[in-house]
Amino acid sequence: MRRLAWLLPLAVFLVALPALIRTGAPGIANYLLNNFAIQSLTWIALALSYDLSVGHAGTVSLAHPAFIGIGAYTAAVLTTRLGTPFLFNVLVAVVLVGAVALLVSIPFFRLSDVFFAIGTLGFASMAQIVAVNWEAVTRGALCITQIPRPGAGLGPVAFQVSNLTGFYYLILLITVLTVAVYLAVTTGRAGRALAAVRGDEQLAQAFALNPLVYKVLAFVVGAMLAAVVGVFEAHHVSVVCPETLGTFFTLNLLVIVFVGGVGTLRGVILGAVLFTVIPELARFAQTQAQLVYGVGLLLVVLYAPDGVEGVLAKVLRRARARTSLWRQSDDSKPREP
């Protein structure tokens, strides 16, 4: 658990963040909260949900935008037509996306390696075409608009998100939940099984592990977590368009996961924060940012396959070796992407 010691101060910092921002920079507090804090947390949650299958099961799925999108559309349709509350939307979206992911994963996991990636890409493209053209439900290119702010009435525990701080704590809660699920799946028995499956499928089978079970687990749990973020996004942005399902989402997630450090909690979190902060600070236009991401992704995959986390782990190991000669470094060895 010492490896995760950095999570505690981070959590304290994140809980205090809105107060810090409001006192430190009241003039631009909303801007900072929205463009940095909420944005970073959203990407952290999404990237972690994606890393479950990419970093831990070792299967590159390109279908993640479809799951985010189905989650977002579920919330949008339910809440604008039936006025259902946030938590109910989350529940429906998670069950629906979980079912879809399960249905998709069983045939696709029969495909090996790169064909799985292509198959899921085909699925994601089809999902987007449906979102554009199934106008009766999705309103097509007109988008579903005026999605209300989240609220849920359950007597004493009723809550109503009324400002950005509310949204911030909501996405913080979702991110914490995602981290918890991420740790539950990737450590302990399941984590060891995933590592075995990723390393050598045949060898894992020889130890009576069913690779399919663990691949499907990582894929479906990742999809369900993505759906939760999708529901949040729908309520937060208040508009859901077919672009939510765009394949460029996958590219962004690949950039975060691989530049940060594939298969590592700290690396992915770092990647997501860098991904949000750098273009915002540099005041990049969308195109410039994408260009920089592309170059970054290429350089990382060619020259630093362990990403920022790999570099950081090395630096920390050296620093620790210098301060304490007897204490063994326990940083897990970074993986090959």
């Binding site: 070792g58 590159v60 045939p107 696709f108 029969r110 495909l111 390696d113 790169v114 064909f115 990636a117 292509i118 198959g119 890409l121 085909g122 699925f123 493209s125 089809m126 075409i129 449906v130 554009v132 053209n133 394949t247 590219l251 690949l254 691989f258 195109t287 410039q288 994408q290 260009l291 991401y293 592309g294 170059v295 992704l297 290429l298 995959v301 060619l302 396959p305 090959e336 992407p337």
Partner: protein, 299 residues
């Protein structure tokens, strides 16, 4: 559907759709056999393949910009520019990933795709450009069939290119070396084939073919930075349907795909035409992974 039509012959609807389908099929075929060649020889999927077609389209657009260069010269210039570009692409990027895992290859080529698309958006903007030729607006009449002369050029040049390509693979030393590499890479080393040289030549030819595709179809469609993204997936669909890495199967699959898509667009709805392509691709993957015409080895 990929592109807006610049000119459509107003004739019998079915024939019109077939002509469109064959044009689209030619585009898919020229792109897909280049992709299949790389898959067959190097066991690598180039996810930036369609974006190289986009680069070719811009090269052609530039060559035609003043309107002074005749079509054939601009076309030749485009293909001649694309061949070294492909070679350079292999030497700078592909060479570094060709021996690594499929994950590294996937991400590296996807990164190249992002870079190309966004570099072109940054420089040229998203507005579509037109590069029509004299032949785009000339029509030939055969009975009730009225076809743009440019399409006739496509129907003549594309098959010629396939023939030249097949002859190259069959009879030249380099072509034979490529076929050998697609069958057994290790054995190639033993008989003195240089895999690096063959890899470079493979990419040069693959990119040259997409350049030819640009030259042939760009006068009918428009040019914009994201035009290649969907093409990559369509070409990939044809490669998979054709039996991963087999040239002949890919060729047939590409035309099938083009015609099916066109008919689907004409008779069902243009918005769902792409669904057909992806649906067929996924079905092939799941039901007939060896491709529609299943043969086991080699290009």
């Amino acid at each position: 559907v990929l592109f807006y039509e610049v000119s459509v012959g107003s004739v019998d609807f079915v024939i019109e759709q077939l002509v469109n389908g064959l044009t689209l099929g030619s585009l898919y075929a020229l792109s897909a056999i280049g992709l299949a060649l790389v898959v067959g020889v190097l066991r690598l999927i180039n996810f930036a393949h369609g974006d190289l077609f986009m680069v070719g389209a811009y090269v052609f657009f530039l060559a035609r910009l003043g309107g002074t260069m005749p079509y054939w010269a601009a076309g030749l210039a485009t293909v001649l520019a694309m061949i070294p570009l492909g070679y350079l692409f292999e030497r700078t990027i592909i060479e570094r990933v060709v021996d690594k895992s499929w994950r590294v290859q996937l991400i590296a080529t996807l990164a190249v795709s992002i870079i190309l698309v966004n570099a072109f958006i940054a420089y040229w903007g998203l507005n579509p450009k037109m590069a029509p030729t004299f032949y785009s607006s000339q029509f030939l009449q055969y009975g009730i069939v009225r076809v743009a002369a440019q399409r006739v050029i496509v129907f003549v040049v594309a098959p010629l290119a396939f023939l030249v390509f097949a002859a190259f693979l069959q009879y030249t030393r380099t072509g034979r070396a490529m076929r050998a590499m697609s069958q057994n890479r290790e054995a190639c080393l033993m008989v003195g084939i240089d895999p690096h040289r063959i890899a470079g030549v493979t990419f040069a030819i693959s990119t040259g073919l997409t350049g030819l595709a640009s030259v042939l179809v760009v006068p009918l469609y428009s040019v914009f930075p994201t035009m290649g993204t969907l093409l990559t997936f369509k070409a990939l669909a044809a490669v998979i349907m054709g039996g991963f890495g087999q040239i002949q199967g890919t060729l047939v699959a590409a035309y099938l795909l083009g015609v099916t898509e066109s008919l689907a667009a004409g008779f069902i709805s243009s918005s769902y035409a792409d669904l057909v392509a992806f649906g067929v691709m996924i079905l092939t993957l799941l039901v007939r992974p060896q491709g529609l015409f299943g043969r086991k080895v080699g290009i």
